[in-house]
Symmetry: none
Subunit: 191 residues, 4 copies
DNA sequence: GATGAATGAGTATTCATTCAT
DNA sequence: AATGAATGAATACTCATTCAT
């Protein structure tokens, strides 16, 4: 009724929603989208199944929201840097920083890779993914262009793919795969 | 004793088994392991659900068999070449040939990537995967060693990961991703 | 927080659980454990299959729960009488009363006998069965001891077995078997 | 074609049939009727599933045949002794001999008791059971009559039931239950 | 906003039985 | 007589989703 109550409601909503999304991210990353049960997610979030459906239309909506949420966070970290053409040192630093972010968000990326291959679920998400990937790709391309590379976008895509591959290998075998050293070689040979 | 000869039975079995495996590979690649229903696989193979269980203990056994089958085919293509240290040209050729194979077996690799992230299913298969991956990795490492690279195994793993990444990007977007050109750059810069 | 109070939920749960258990007891007694389908039990209870699994982990758990439930009811009827040494009249009365109970719970005992022979299902239940059978056996043994019988426990076990046999014959042919008269003879000759 | 071939066929038939029945008896006794799979029985008998259906119309027919077969063997052991009225010593000996037979055919009796409680399967068999049980019952009754007991048939049925109970207890716990001593008491007190 | 009881369609798997050979 | 490939109906069980409260 009162504005304060309204605010409280809003606060509750955002807090609960965040808790559910965090729990869902964990469970999705541990068990994959299909195996992750709504019950388990609700339980992990300390919330009833019914409430989940109050916040998210369904399981698919939930994973999409998590994706989009993570993406917009990622996007914001590129704001401002989009236009500039980085020096070699800046570019190297950018890659190192990105890869460090990757290591700090393993559950998210585990979910990301595991879901990316199940096209049907992700059809709608793919466009959103492009929205974040493209500017980064363009920035990489601009860098290559500034270095006089003939086909800068091709180089950019290849670099992105190589980093994807390293990330994936690290996800599959976090103990065994030489993540940081691989990045160093990439930086040394490809930029 | 036998109304059909042993050979006839064997023939029937191998033919049906192959048909089921082919159908399963397709469905797994289209829908992922979890979403692929045994019913659909059986239907696609033109066979009753019951018969599937005559040939494969369960769904997991089925996907494992497909993996192992594909792997042994892959392995056989490395026989003989394991021991030798390739020249740069040979190595480049080897990579091109491998990637062409990859393109020819997209459904298999789609399934491969989609399942690799769901470790639980694949625990037992992982060892078999190593069996095929290791010799290739060692051969790559030997090549780098012969070129005087300090940490040859590290370079080999990084090269493998980069190729993985290119493969994955191609799988997700077969029309848009510049697969062959990416490979050319890899060959140019990394070997 | 709760739209229904904890108590309301509890009430619903106990009522439904009881209804499922009653239906299950009937169906198990009519068809035996293996032949009794979960669908039929749910149908008889006027409940969906899904709900059954909300209350009982699986079919085995269901039958175990019924057993244990019935046993604890039986046990409670022996509280207090365990320690005393009965006179001949008391002992005879006890047997008559027990056998009357038996007749009042035929479905339960039908299930009991039908399952007792399929050891695998009942492994865990057997210990619980002992818990109720032993005190009764000991009381019988004490009676025989008080009457100067040399091997009282042996006599007790034999008496128990004879009563088992009469019960079983009655179960198989409730119309034809002279249950009460058999009990009278047992009482006359064996105690 | 030749009479010798005919005979050989017959020999093969009876030998195979016996082997299947023996295997089936074992498996039924180990796993119960429902859990015993036709495949397992065929495998144990060293025979194909198809052949089983050549000899027995279906699974039910198979268990019925085993029952009836065992019964006619039992019956034949009573031929001759039906009419006479036994002395106390003869009667005691008869019981002891019967119970020894019981111990020698445990698998059969395990199957017998386990199936007896699932009325539906055994409906048709029950009549056959009566055919063997009745003469024995009558003989027992005659014995009691000769000893001046008022209701000899009642006593006979009660004795039969008691022996059933001892048998069943022994089946459930062959190591622990004092089978022979229980029989001695029965003989002492009830005949 | 919040609960959890309730549903029903879906899943993998089993198995008695048939049948072409 | 003998085989075992093939079927299909049945089974236990799961789980996303709904809804009365």
């Amino acid at each position: 009724m009162s504005p304060r109550t309204q605010e409280q409601y809003h606060e509750i909503r955002t807090e609960k929603k965040a808790r559910i999304m965090q729990a869902a991210l964990e469970v999705f990353s541990e068990e994959g989208f299909e195996r992750a049960s709504v019950s388990k997610i609700a339980g992990r979030a300390g919330v009833s199944k019914g409430l989940m459906y109050n916040y998210f239309k369904n399981k698919e909506e939930l994973i999409k929201t998590i994706f989009i949420d993570a993406m917009s966070k990622l996007m914001s970290s590129f704001v401002g840097s989009r236009e500039m053409i980085p020096t070699k040192e800046e570019f190297a630093l950018f890659i190192k920083k990105s890869m460090a972010d990757f290591k700090n968000n393993l559950p998210y990326w585990k979910m990301y890779f595991s879901v990316m291959m199940q096209a049907n679920v992700m059809q709608m998400v793919n466009e959103e993914l492009m929205e974040i990937a493209m500017p980064v790709l363009m920035m990489m391309a601009k860098y290559y262009e500034s270095r006089g590379v003939k086909d800068p976008l091709l180089h950019a895509r290849m670099l992105g793919a190589a980093l994807d591959g390293i990330g994936m290998n690290y996800l599959v075998d976090p103990e065994g795969y030489p993540f940081d050293k691989s990045i160093d070689i990439i930086i040394d040979k490809l930029i």
